[in-house]
Amino acid sequence: MSKAAVLAPGSLAAPANVRRSTARVSNRTIVLVCYIVFLMLPIYWMVNMSFKTNEEILSGLTLYPHNPTLRNYAVIFTDPSWYSGYINSIYYVTLNTVISLTVALPAAYAFSRYRFIGDKHVFFWLLTNKMAPPAVFLLPFFQLYQTVGLFDTHIAVALAHCLFNVPLAVWILEGFMSGVPREIDEMAYIDGYSFPRFFGTVFLPMIRAGVGVTAFFCFMFSWVELLLARTLTSVDAKPIAATMTRTVSASGMDWGLLAAAGVLTILPGALVIWFVRNYIAKGFALGRV
């Protein structure tokens, strides 16, 4: 709000001007509020529908559930083919986040501190992996993971998602690490710290926020990705998003159940986002996701 007040050009002048300028400031706020309403309406509609029975959904439009029911959620939490989808998704997303961070941390340090042969080209090559059109690459992906015996395992999806999450993690972490002055490294080495000890006890705590933001982005991109996850799994590691498409097409549109499953896919993201809310904007800018 303080920024808006500073922005208002007439705020030093006469009261009339002040009133006009606050009115103008609120124009922008109105745009923001309208946009958020526009964002929330479709989500609200899905949440609303998830608490309705199918009879109510199909019998007419109701703005809130008149006969609220938890049946849709009960189905999901009691049927293993549904809830195992969630467990699978959370499992491979977590695995991917851990792998991505573990390999990206040293690499980001190297990029932020050293020049070496091919550094810029490796960096660009990493980024191009986000750009391959997936449709045709899916077939060799499937073949490759089948050949190495990883098909339909959580680690397969976690590894495949590294393709785009590792470059992203390197990029965000590099941004945060470059903000730490070199002198700190040099001082630690003079004090006799070994590289691993310095990295673990001095450097990592200094870029805590960066690690958090990176973990958030890895989580997010692994969570929303569906094509690779669906291609590399069949039963044992099937992600929830894939479960949704299958069940819906088979059972002739159980709208309430579909909505409930959708709501449950939003929840983990909403929870995670809360923990990094103050760093989101910075992470977006650094990560250039």
Binding site: P42, F116, A132, Q143, M220, W255
Partner: protein, 291 residues
Amino acid sequence: MDKVQDNRAWFLIIPVFLIVAFSAVVPLMTVVNYSVQEIFGPGQTFFVGTEWFEAVLKDDRLHDALVRQIIYSLAVLLIEIPLGILIALGMPGGRSAKTSLTLVLLALPLLIPFNVVGTIWQIFGRGDIGLLGATFRAIGIDYNYTNNSAHAWITVLVMDVWHWTSLVALLCYAGLQSIPPAFYQAAKIDGASKWAVFRYIQLPKMRGVLIIAVLLRFMDSFMIYTEPFVLTGGGPGNSTTFLSQYLTQMAVGQFDIGKAAAFSIVYFLIVLLFSFIFYTIITRTGEGEKK
């Protein structure tokens, strides 16, 4: 910051290099191999040279899909970039609860799995059970995204705006946050108009993030697949069949793997060219700021 020349840094890169190369190199090579062959099944392949590339480059339906794709990507950019800037300008500053709440709400659509985004709009847009569809019907517009091409196209576009404008807004917000308050005070003393503040202080500071936003939105909208697939399945007719959809129809529907592979490579080269140009601009802007 001056970096030290030391090739031993490669040892720190090796894990990343191996893990990405595992998933990247073999599939890429395989697609290149496919693109010069007629594939009938495992072990039954015939070398055809560059015929697939020629077929792809002279395919009229593909040209249509490409034109549709470019129009769509331009529409996405023209709506999302200005709207994102506008939203970012309206965001509350400082570390208040209001800021946190706004950030969380804005970021929410970015965390929804792509096919669930499609599902949400499917539910929202239907004339019988969806709020949007029903509202249109109530005010007398015969809205139906499943059999009216124009409605389908607009719905996919609105869905994309809904899904991704937040990204542009958050990037711009981060750019705005980097402006020291002193700039605004100076502008106030000079009696600068709001437009002048925007044009000469805020816009230049957002330049870097805006290039990134344009690049990302261009790339992602150029490769959009899952959301329209769930919502419209590419129809009605071909109205929402974008490049990725067409590619998938070719590879999975008609099992024209060779042609689809050739197409993927052309597609990849186009994206690579744009990325390289944008990447060069981004990194050079960064250097300019440091000097």
